[in-house]
C-alpha cells in the first residue's frame, strides 16, 4: 500500500545546507528568509520525494518547486555535468500562467548566472523552453534540436510532445514533474493529465519525482493520490500560512426584503463606493457576466466621472486582448476597481488587491477562499473579504460559508473516474508512440488514479472501438489502431495518425454561441440574438426564456441555431444566467441543513435563537435577527425543512398544482432528483410537467400531482435507470455526446487541413448519435456521455444517498398543503422569472408576499 503522509516544515538551517553556495547567495540576496512553503517543500524535493504542496494563494509555491530543481541543475552545470536532456517538466493549465512562470523562472536563472560570472565561476547554460499551443513550428524545431533542461508546458502540449519522436528521446530520463494549479484539474483535463504522466513514466527510464502545487483544496489525500497515481508514496505539505482571513457579511439598506427597492439599489452602489474608496484596489466578484457589466455601468452612473479609467470588467466573454489589458493595468496598479464573474479566480499574479467583494454567494468554501485569497497576494498581508448579499436565502447561505471559512472547513472536490472518451484519445496516443502489449498497456493505464478501477471489459470495449471492430468490412475507414489477438499487440493505424492526433488533442469542448431565430409565425426567420450554448443545453421544448427583454419559447435547435416562438404569454421558466450559476456544494448544503435544524430547535425563544445564530455563524446581530425573522415566518406559515426533514409544499397556481420540494442538497443533486420525480409524475399521469431546479430544492408543476404516488415511485435502486430513460432524448445528452465524440476522436475537429465549426460538429454528431445507438445502446462513448451527465453535471451518487436516507427513515418527507407559496419557496418560484421582473417589482412582490405570510401566521407568530 502506498503511503500518504503529512509533513511538517523542515528547519531553515537544513534547507540552507542543501543549497549550493551560489544558489544560496542568490536566494538571500533576493529574500530575507525561506517561506513556510519553502521550508516544507525544498528539502523533500531535494530528497526526491513525491510531494503535494497545498498553500493558500499568495504563497511561494512555484519558487518552492523550482528552488530544489534549480539548485540541482546549477550544481550539475558548475561541474560541467549537465546533459543534453529534459530534467524537469512543468505543466500548468493556464497558457497565460505558463508565460508568467517562464518569466519567473528565467529571471532567477539569469541572476544566478550573473552572480556566477561575477565570481568568475564557469557555468553551463541551463535552458528553459516554453511550449504551449501558441509556440511556432520554428521554435518547436529548435527545441527538438537543442533540448531544454526544463520544459514548461500545458497538459495538452505535454501529450503532444510525448508523441513527437525527437522529443521523446530527450525524455528518457526525466527527473522531476511539476503539476501546478492541481486544484483546477479536478475535471477531464486532469484525468487526461494523469494518463499523460503515466505515459511519461513509461517513456522515462527513471521514475520522475512528482511535485503538485495546489491552492486550498480538500480532501488532500485524494488529490495526492491523483498526483502520484497507484502504489506510489506521496508527502503532503499542508501549509497554513499565518494568514488570518478578515471577513464580513452584510446587505445594503435596513431590511433585506427591501434590498431591491430603488433607494436601496442606490445604497448598494454607495456601499460599494465606500469600500472601494477605503481600499487601494478592490476586486468584485459577481457570479454572472451580465451582473459584471451591470455593476460597472451603475457605478459609473451613480458616480459620474469618478471611476473613469479606474474601473474595469473582466469576464470570459470578453476578448483575450481586452482581458490581458485589464490584467496588465491591474499589475501596474492603474485600476481602482475590477469587476469579474469568475475569470479572475485563478492564476496569474494580479498585483496588490487589498479587498475582495463577493456579491452574492460563491456557492462553495473553496471557491470563496480562492476568491478572497486574491486579496493580500503579498506574503504577509491578510486577505480581506466582504460578502454582500441581496436576498434572504443568500444571507443564510453566506453566513454558513463564512462560518466554514473561519473554521477552515473546505468542501470536497471530486475527480471524474474511468472516463472512456479521454481513455480513447490517450490509447490512440500511446499506440502512436510505439507498439504495446495489451496487458502492459492496461497496467500502465491503471496506474493512473483516475483509472485504478477501470474494468477490463471497459478497456476492451474502447480497444474494440478504436480498432474499428464494429464497422465490419469497412473497418479500414474507422480503425485508429490495430490489435492482434494472437500476439496481444496493439499499434497505430494509418499514415495520418500522428497528424490527426496532434490536431485533435485535448479535452475542452469547443463551445460557442447559438443564434436565436424565430421558427414560426409572422416573424419567421428573424434573428433575435445569441445565447450561450451551455444555456441551451439546459432547455427543453416549451421552456420560456428572456432575451433582450423579450420572452421567447424554445422550440428546438439545429446546428448552431435555436428556433423559438415569439409573442409568448407564459411566464419564463428558465433564467438566462442559469448555466453560468455555480452549483452549491453538497457539503455546504448539508451544513446549511444542520444549521436550519439548530435554529428550528430554538425558534420559540427569540433571544436565545438570535444569540445562537450570532455565535454559530460569527455574524453581526442585525444579520442574525434577519435570519431569525425569515425562519420564524417559514415555521409559522409552513414548517422549516432541515437536515432530517424534506418539506414538500403543495399549493395551486392558475389551475395548476405546484409541489415545492425543499431538498437542500445543492443543484447537482436536485437536478437528478427533480428529473426523476418529474418523470414519475409524467409517467403516472401522462401529462406535461414543468419543473424548476435550484440549490435549495426544486418544484414540479402540472395538473393533478399525486405527491404520495410520485414520491413512492422513485427508489434509490432505480434512480439510474429512471434517469437514463429521462435524459435519453434531451439536448443535454446530445451535447455531451458531441463533446465525448470529439474527445474520443469519433468526430475530428480538424481533418485533412480543415477545421470543423462547432455547428457542423453539432449537426454531424446528431447523425452519429443515431448511428451509435443503433450499434449498441452501451457503446463506450455513449456510456461516457451518460456518465458525464450523471456524475459531472448532476450528482447521482449523492442523489442516491438522499433517496436511501428517505427509504431508511434517516430523512423524512412531510407534505404541507398551503394556500400559496411559503417564504422559503418564494425564491424558487421566482427564479424562472428573475429576468423579467425588475428588481423593484421583485422587491415589492416579496414585500407583499411577506405581508400575506404574516397575516396568515397571525400576530404571535406560531
Amino acid at each position: 500500500m502506498a503511503k500518504i503522509e503529512y509533513i511538517e516544515a523542515s528547519k531553515a538551517e537544513e534547507v540552507k545546507e542543501i543549497l549550493n553556495s551560489l544558489v544560496r547567495e542568490w536566494f538571500f540576496s533576493r529574500f530575507e528568509d525561506f517561506s513556510n512553503t519553502q521550508l516544507c517543500g525544498v528539502k523533500n524535493i531535494n530528497d526526491r520525494k513525491n510531494i503535494l504542496v497545498s498553500a493558500p494563494t499568495g504563497g511561494t509555491k512555484t519558487l518552492t518547486a523550482f528552488l530544489g530543481i534549480l539548485n540541482y541543475l546549477v550544481g550539475l552545470s558548475l561541474k560541467n555535468e549537465l546533459e543534453d536532456k529534459i530534467y524537469a517538466v512543468y505543466s500548468s493549465p493556464l497558457k497565460a500562467l505558463s508565460n508568467d512562470i517562464f518569466v519567473n523562472l528565467i529571471n532567477p536563472l539569469k541572476e544566478i548566472k550573473g552572480l556566477a560570472e561575477k565570481k568568475g565561476m564557469k557555468m553551463q547554460e541551463i535552458r528553459v523552453a516554453l511550449r504551449t499551443g501558441d509556440t511556432s513550428a520554428a521554435e518547436r524545431a529548435k527545441m527538438a534540436k537543442k533540448s531544454p533542461h526544463i520544459l514548461v508546458s500545458t497538459p495538452e502540449t505535454l501529450a503532444i510532445v510525448l508523441t513527437s519522436k525527437k522529443f521523446v528521446e530527450k525524455m528518457r530520463a526525466v527527473e522531476f514533474v511539476i503539476v501546478d494549479e492541481i486544484h483546477a484539474m479536478t475535471n477531464k483535463r486532469g484525468v487526461y493529465l494523469s494518463l499523460t504522466l503515466e505515459r511519461l513514466c513509461d517513456i522515462s527510464k527513471i521514475e520522475p519525482v512528482r511535485i503538485g502545487l495546489s491552492a486550498t483544496i480538500s480532501p488532500l489525500g485524494e488529490i495526492a493520490r491523483f498526483l502520484v497515481g497507484k502504489d506510489r508514496d506521496c508527502l503532503i505539505a499542508d501549509v497554513k500560512l499565518m494568514k488570518k482571513i478578515e471577513i464580513n457579511l452584510d446587505y445594503p439598506g435596513e431590511n433585506i426584503l427591501e434590498v431591491g427597492l430603488q433607494e436601496n439599489q442606490k445604497k448598494l452602489y454607495h456601499i460599494l463606493d465606500e469600500l472601494i474608496q477605503e481600499h487601494k484596489t478592490t476586486l468584485i466578484f459577481t457570479n454572472t457576466r451580465a451582473a459584471t457589466e451591470r455593476i460597472v455601468h451603475y457605478l459609473d452612473l451613480h458616480f459620474p466621472g469618478k471611476y473613469a479609467g479606474l474601473i474595469g470588467a473582466h469576464h470570459s466573454s470578453m476578448s483575450k486582448e481586452k482581458r490581458f489589458e485589464i490584467e496588465d493595468k491591474l499589475r501596474k496598479g492603474e485600476l481602482k476597481v475590477v469587476v469579474s464573474s469568475t475569470s479572475l479566480e485563478l492564476g496569474i499574479d494580479i498585483g496588490s488587491i487589498d479587498l475582495v467583494v463577493l456579491l452574492r454567494s460563491p456557492k462553495s468554501t473553496s471557491r470563496a477562499l480562492q476568491r478572497i485569497g486574491r486579496a493580500g497576494h503579498k506574503l504577509h498581508d491578510n486577505p480581506k473579504g466582504e460578502f454582500i448579499v441581496l436576498d434572504r436565502d443568500d444571507l443564510v447561505e453566506c453566513s454558513i460559508l463564512m462560518k466554514e471559512m473561519i473554521e477552515k472547513k473546505i468542501d470536497n472536490a471530486e475527480i471524474p473516474k474511468n472516463c472512456l472518451d479521454v481513455l480513447s484519445q490517450q490509447i490512440y496516443g500511446m499506440a502512436i508512440s510505439r507498439i504495446w502489449n495489451i496487458d502492459e498497456m492496461l497496467r500502465t493505464i491503471r496506474r493512473s488514479y483516475c483509472y485504478e478501477t477501470l474494468s477490463k471489459e471497459d478497456f476492451l470495449s474502447v480497444i474494440s472501438y478504436l480498432a474499428g471492430d464494429y464497422a465490419l468490412e469497412h473497418r479500414s475507414v474507422y480503425a485508429k489502431i490495430w490489435y492482434d489477438e494472437k500476439t496481444k499487440q496493439i499499434g497505430k493505424k494509418g499514415k495520418m495518425a500522428r497528424v490527426i492526433y496532434m490536431t485533435n488533442i485535448g479535452t475542452i469542448p469547443a463551445e460557442s454561441f447559438m443564434t436565436v431565430e424565430i421558427g414560426v409565425g409572422e416573424r419567421k426567420g428573424q434573428i433575435v440574438g445569441k445565447i450561450d450554448e451551455s444555456f441551451l443545453e439546459r432547455m427543453k421544448r416549451g421552456d420560456v426564456f428572456v432575451l433582450g427583454g423579450q420572452k421567447y419559447q424554445f422550440l428546438f435547435s439545429r446546428g448552431m441555431k435555436a428556433y423559438v416562438k415569439a409573442d409568448v404569454s407564459r411566464n419564463p421558466t428558465i433564467p438566462s444566467w442559469f448555466s453560468e450559476m455555480l452549483p452549491l456544494s453538497f457539503d455546504v448544503a448539508l451544513e446549511i441543513g444542520r444549521f436550519r435544524k439548530l435554529i428550528k430547535e430554538r425558534i420559540k425563544d427569540k433571544k436565545e435563537c438570535i444569540e445562537f445564530i450570532e455565535k454559530h455563524t460569527y455574524c453581526k446581530k442585525h444579520i442574525a435577527e434577519e435570519i431569525y425573522e425569515y425562519f420564524k415566518e417559514q415555521q409559522g406559515f409552513s414548517e422549516i425543512p432541515d437536515e432530517k426533514t424534506i418539506i414538500v409544499e403543495k399549493y395551486k397556481e392558475d389551475r395548476k398544482e405546484v409541489l415545492i420540494f425543499h431538498s437542500l442538497y445543492g443543484r447537482r443533486v436536485n437536478d437528478a432528483l427533480a428529473r426523476a420525480y418529474a418523470f414519475a409524475a409524467a409517467r403516472l399521469k401522462y401529462r406535461d410537467i414543468e419543473m424548476g431546479i435550484s440549490d435549495n430544492g426544486f418544484y414540479l408543476m402540472g395538473e393533478q400531482l399525486e405527491e404520495d404516488k410520485i414520491i413512492k415511485w422513485v427508489k434509490a435502486k432505480d434512480l439510474k435507470e429512471i434517469l437514463k430513460e429521462a435524459i435519453e432524448k434531451t439536448e443535454v445528452l446530445k451535447r455531451r455526446f458531441r463533446h465525448c465524440a470529439a474527445r474520443s476522436l469519433m468526430i475530428l475537429r480538424s481533418y485533412k487541413g480543415r477545421e470543423k465549426s462547432v455547428g457542423k460538429q453539432q449537426v454531424h454528431s446528431g447523425f452519429l448519435f443515431v448511428a451509435v445507438k443503433k450499434l449498441s445502446n452501451e457503446f463506450p462513448i455513449l456510456r461516457e456521455a451518460r456518465r458525464e451527465v450523471f456524475e459531472d453535471l448532476m450528482d447521482i451518487k449523492n442523489a442516491e444517498k438522499v433517496l436511501k436516507w428517505l427509504e431508511n427513515g434517516q430523512v423524512n418527507i412531510k407534505i404541507k398543503k398551503l394556500p400559496f407559496v411559503s417564504p422559503f419557496g418564494l425564491n424558487m418560484a421566482l427564479e424562472g422569472r428573475s429576468d423579467l421582473i425588475k428588481m423593484e417589482d421583485r422587491a415589492s412582490f416579496l414585500k407583499r408576499m411577506h405581508e400575506l405570510h404574516l397575516k396568515a401566521i397571525g400576530k404571535d407568530g406560531f
Binding site: V477, F556, F679, A682, R687, D688, H764, F767, A771
Partner: protein
C-alpha cells in the same frame, strides 16, 4: 380508381385501369440519401456504414407484409356483375372485369409489386458520386428490380448526378416526375404544370421529410409521419424520408417552403410506428402532449 395503403414509411397504391380493368400495385418510397455515411467519413466523422443493411432489412419486412396482405384473398372478387366490397373496404366497380386477383402481378413472375416509385434524393452528395453511392445505389436498384417489375426514380434535388448510375441498369427509369393514371409522383422541390391537369387527383411528394414531435410528459420524441390534405382540389400526400438518420422536421416548429405555398399545418397527420400507422387528425390541432402509451400499446 385508386386505393392507397400505408405500409410503414411507404405507400402502396392499387390502381385499376377503368378501360382495361387491369390493376396494378405501386410501391412508393421516400427520400433515401444513400451514401451519407461516406460523406460524413470524408469530413472526419466516423459514423459507421450501417444504413444500407438496415434499409434492406426494412424493405424485406415491407415486401413480406405486402405479400401476406394481398395474397389470395382477391378470389372473392371474381364474381362478375356484382358490386363487391373487399375485406379492405374497397368498393369495386361491378362492371370492371376483375379476373383473378387484386394485384396485377401474379406469383409466377416472382414480383411482389408492379411498380416501385422512388420519390427522389436517392443519393446524398451533390456534385459527385462517391464509392459508397455507386455500390449502395446499384445494390438497391438490383434489390428493387427483384421485387417490382418496373422501377421509376423521380429526380430529387440531391440527384443531380444520378444518371451515370441509373444508366448501369437499363430497367430503371429516371424522370422529372411520373404519372400513373390520376396520380402524379414528384420530388417536391419544384412545381410542374402537369400537376394541375384535370386527370390528376393525387399528388405524391417526398423532399419535405415530415415528422411530428410527441410528448408523454416526461420526454419528447420525434416520429416520422405522412401528411395529407386537399389543395386546389388535388389531394397532396407527403411521404416521410425513408432514411433513419434523420427523423425529419416538425412543421409546427419550422416551416419549410414549398412551391405551392401550402400550409401543411392544415393537413392530416399519420404517424409511422413500425409498420403501422396511427391517425392523429389535423396537424395544427394536434396537442403537443400525446399519451405516450398510445404508441407503445398499439
Amino acid at each position: 380508381m385508386t386505393k392507397i395503403d400505408y405500409i410503414g414509411k411507404c405507400l402502396l397504391l392499387r390502381n385499376i385501369n377503368k378501360k382495361t380493368g387491369k390493376k396494378k400495385k405501386i410501391l412508393v418510397i421516400g427520400d433515401l440519401h444513400l451514401g451519407y455515411e461516406e460523406a460524413l467519413n470524408k469530413t472526419g466523422v466516423f459514423v459507421t456504414r450501417q444504413m444500407f443493411e438496415e434499409m434492406i432489412k426494412e424493405f424485406d419486412l415491407i415486401f413480406e407484409k405486402i405479400e401476406k396482405k394481398y395474397e389470395k384473398k382477391e378470389l372473392a372478387y371474381t364474381t362478375k356483375g356484382l358490386e363487391i366490397i373487399g375485406k379492405d373496404g374497397m368498393i369495386r366497380d361491378n362492371k370492371s372485369n376483375i379476373k383473378d386477383n387484386d394485384g396485377g402481378v401474379g406469383g409466377d413472375e416472382g414480383y411482389v409489386v408492379d411498380e416501385i416509385v422512388l420519390l427522389g434524393d436517392v443519393k446524398h452528395v451533390f456534385g459527385t458520386i462517391m464509392k459508397q453511392e455507386w455500390g449502395d445505389v446499384l445494390k438497391l436498384f438490383d434489390y428493387l428490380l427483384e421485387k417490382g417489375k418496373k422501377v421509376v426514380v423521380v429526380e430529387g434535388n440531391h440527384d443531380a448526378i444520378l444518371e451515370p448510375i441509373v444508366k448501369q441498369r437499363k430497367e430503371i427509369q429516371l424522370e422529372e416526375f411520373y404519372v400513373d393514371h390520376n396520380v402524379i409522383f414528384l420530388h417536391g422541390d419544384k412545381d410542374f404544370e402537369q400537376i394541375w391537369d384535370d386527370e390528376i387527383d393525387i399528388v405524391i411528394l417526398g423532399h419535405i421529410h415530415p415528422a411530428v414531435k410527441l410528448s408523454g410528459g416526461a420526454k419528447v420524441e420525434k416520429y416520422k409521419c405522412f401528411l395529407d390534405g386537399i389543395h386546389k382540389n388535388k389531394k397532396f400526400m407527403l411521404v416521410p424520408s425513408f432514411s433513419e438518420y434523420s427523423k425529419g422536421i416538425d412543421i409546427r416548429e419550422y416551416e419549410i417552403k414549398n412551391p405551392w405555398n401550402i400550409d401543411f399545418k392544415k393537413f392530416n397527420v399519420k404517424v409511422v410506428n413500425g409498420l403501422k400507422i396511427l391517425d392523429f387528425g389535423k396537424l395544427k390541432k394536434l396537442n403537443w402532449v400525446i399519451i405516450f402509451s398510445l404508441l407503445l400499446v398499439i
